[in-house]
Amino acid sequence: MTDDTLTSGPPGAAAAGSHGADDGHAAVLPLAAFDDPHMQPYAKNPRRAEAIIGLILLVGLAGFCAYGGLFWVGGQPQWEGVFFGVGLFAFGFGMSAWGKYLLPQGPFEEQRHVLASTEPEVEAMAAAIEERGKMVFRRRGFLGTILGAGAGVMGIVLAFPLLRSLGPQPKKSLAVTNWTKGVAVVDLDGRQIHQADLEVGGALTVFPQGFEGSAVDQTMLIRPAPADQDIVTKPGRETWGPKGYLAYSKLCTHAGCPVGLYEGTLKRLLCPCHQSLFEVLTGANPVFGPAPRPLPQLPLMIDSRGFLHAQGPYSEPVGPGFWERA
């Protein structure tokens, strides 16, 4: 028993210990009044709860010790997870259980205060803003204009370092690749591709010589047909697919992922990101999925020794669409 005192509404009710009585009166109670039923532990049997919580906290302690010991001897991720995880959880569970079962749950009540001010107070503030605002700008409209113009220009010039300094303008970088007339077709290691390198049904990622691994230049070299066949995918591309070879930009026209999966039997290219499907033999037209345009085709030629070259650059920008693209 402490010297803190229960000060509840009608003293008689408090003496009877029946705070739940329907007396219709407010009862006021300092939190330190240990004897009130509201201040009793929530658990029906506090001693038992104490024992269980003690055990749980011990589990937590043991978990911490186990983690420390494991770390000391070298560590192992899974057991580290188990030991310290169980330790933390048990520790927290014990604490929460302590809060729930050994501490008073009331229920207690707090009054809400009214958030809103009175109408005159609201009007007074609005009036102050308005009146004083007029005081600032009355007959000084030109000052306000200059101030506004200054703020605007400051905002614009601030964008220079904040935005423009970040990187180069796009200029032609999105539209131009390093594929030029006569450049040799090489693989990732820079090895020139010979017409005998790919079997029918094969596919390979190639680059222009000197730009191995370049993102914008990556191209799918496909051999859907044997050497006696020149493949014409579209009118006007009669010489683009010599000796059964075809080359398309590997950048998907949807979101720019590498169109990396070649289905040899169906002769289709699939983009693994969003499943756009391109028909290889008819100019990589999208037949399925979200890609809006065909993959650009690289015109190929084969020199007298049998090595592959580009006849010229891509005739249109590779990769996904953008504003400046025609």
Partner: protein, 520 residues
């Protein structure tokens, strides 16, 4: 026990046993004389927190954020945010001899070389997933119970902003290690920025320092956004979020003695503090255990990002799934005119659509107030079944986002069920409109049925049946358990046994905490 009504002797100096001044009193006085905290501090100690399991959802978000900060600081001690490439000779044998970037190699090494590094790194990733998830579920709780209504519209908006920031920072975070999956994500992000009409190409090349993959500046830039800028904004908004919660006080479900004018529950100190601190440790324990036991983002299996590499089943982290799904099922529309292109197939699902969604979330409180004509203050929560129209809209929206999420794995679904990708795609193109409507109507009629049946949702009170030696059966209702609250469903107002207009309790200047009679 004595029942004297003499006031607590707080006016005089409290003395310890040996007559020395109480150290706690001395400490409080020291602080109070400098900061004036005693009065407000006492009110804060007495602050009442209502109890309901759904109120823990926001706490999970808060504590995941705490853990994100803690584990993130640990990771930043080892992570090198640089795209500079070199030949790997580190601890992870399968990678030795291959070209890697500093970002990738340092992430691998902090997982394998730094002791407990793997656990803490995976814990960080799990905490991020749980952070976004708990925010989303917390938001559902707020929505379905109408907790966003006046006066809490501002806090709802802050919450939406926090959700956007959490999504953003999650994406930026998993883009940092420069592995194959995250690099592919960045490639798609570049294309998304590119798809913005007029300014897109400039924004994209500014951000990345040139056409993709840029000049290597993107990773250090994302790093500083991830560890400083976005977390600072989150921290500030979080403070505002909690500050508003204290200022406006907690909402509560209707029930015994609970009104629009009070808050019923347990006080901050000591009960709530004990419970919630324990909960922090429990969240930490679960996340730590996940970090140790459940592998997440094993970048050494994906490998270093190279722009020409790709793998099957490329999916982003789960909270980006709805956007990826939208990207997948969008029909291939692209507009061309006057020498310009608008790649609507990307612009719409990845730029306009999320903008539309988040703006709808922002304006929802005022939209609902306008539609229902309800402009009153609300502190008591709705039961979702009592607001069939709002619940139907919410369920429809959820079904919509879940369908989009499922659509982000069209390839995996087609493979798993051995059906054509084509059919899966067309299914989702229709399902994304049909399923939400069905779910919404279903929810609406379910709510109508539930609110029409008296006593539904009420916890049944158990009955003990005993048999007497004579063979008579007797049924006795058990004691009502705490939490049995038939009043919650009683439409008639519960008599409030509190004198609302009593400004100060008689207890010698001790403000505010009163008891509510226990139900027995």
């Amino acid at each position: 026990m004595t029942t004297t009504t003499s006031p607590t002797p707080t006016g005089g100096a409290r003395r310890g046993r040996a007559g020395k001044p109480d150290p706690v009193v001395a400490g409080v006085r020291w602080l109070d004389e400098r900061l004036g905290v005693a009065k407000g501090g006492r009110v804060l100690l007495d602050k009442i927190f209502p109890d309901h399991w759904s109120f823990l959802l926001g706490e999970i978000a808060l504590y995941s954020f705490v853990i994100l900060i803690a584990t993130g600081v640990f990771l930043s001690l080892y992570f090198i945010p640089s795209a500079q490439e070199f030949v790997y000779h580190g601890v992870y044998a399968p990678l030795r001899g291959s070209r890697v970037s500093s970002a990738f190699a340092s992430t691998v090494d902090l997982s394998f070389k730094v002791r407990s590094g793997l656990v803490i790194r995976q814990m960080h990733h799990w905490a991020a997933d749980v952070f976004v998830g708990s925010i989303a579920v917390h938001m559902c709780r707020i929505f379905f119970t109408g907790a966003f209504r006046k006066p809490r519209e501002l806090n709802w908006m802050i919450g939406i902003t926090l959700l956007i920031l959490a999504l953003t920072n999650g994406f930026i975070g998993y883009s940092l290690p420069d592995d194959l999956v995250s690099g592919t994500g960045l490639r798609i992000m570049f294309s998304i920025v590119l798809s913005i009409p007029v300014v897109g190409t400039y924004l994209a090349t500014f951000l990345f320092g040139g056409n993709f993959p840029g000049d290597g500046t993107i990773i250090p830039r994302l790093f500083i956004l991830h560890v400083l800028v976005v977390p600072l904004v989150i921290l500030g908004l979080l403070a505002a979020h909690l500050g508003l919660l204290v200022r406006q006080k907690h909402t509560q479900f209707p029930g015994h003695g609970r009104t629009e004018k009070n808050v019923v529950g347990t006080p901050m100190y000591p009960t709530f503090i004990a419970k919630t601190t324990g909960f922090l440790f429990m969240v930490a324990g679960v996340l730590w255990a996940l970090g140790g036991l459940a592998q997440i983002n094993p970048i050494w299996q994906f490998g270093q990002y190279e722009p020409y590499k790709i793998s099957y089943a490329v999916q982003p982290d789960w909270y980006m799934g709805w956007l990826d799904g939208a990207l997948r099922i969008m029909p291939p529309w692209s507009f061309h005119a006057f020498g310009h292109t608008i790649p609507f197939v990307v612009t719409f699902p990845a730029v306009l659509f999320p903008g539309l969604c988040f703006n709808l979330f922002y304006v929802w409180p005022s939209l609902e107030a306008r539609l229902t004509g309800d402009h009153a203050e609300h502190h008591l929560l709705d039961r979702p079944r009592d607001r069939p129209r709002r619940t139907a809209i919410g369920v429809g929206a959820l079904a919509f986002f879940f369908t989009l999420f499922a659509a982000s794995s069209t390839d995996v679904l087609a493979n798993y069920f051995q059906i054509s990708l084509n059919e899966v795609l067309w299914f989702f193109r229709f399902a994304v409109f049909v399923i939400p409507v069905i779910a919404g109507f279903f929810a609406y009629y379910l709510c109508r049925e539930m609110s029409g049946v008296p006593g539904i949702g009420r916890r049944k009170r158990a009955v003990v049946i005993t048999r007497s030696p004579q063979g008579e059966y007797e049924s006795v209702p058990t004691e009502p358990r705490p939490g049995d609250s038939p009043e919650e469903l009683d439409p008639s107002p519960v008599p409030v046994r509190i004198e609302l207009d009593d400004p100060e309790p008689v207890g010698a200047g001790i403000p505010g905490v009163r008891r509510i009679p226990r139900r027995r």
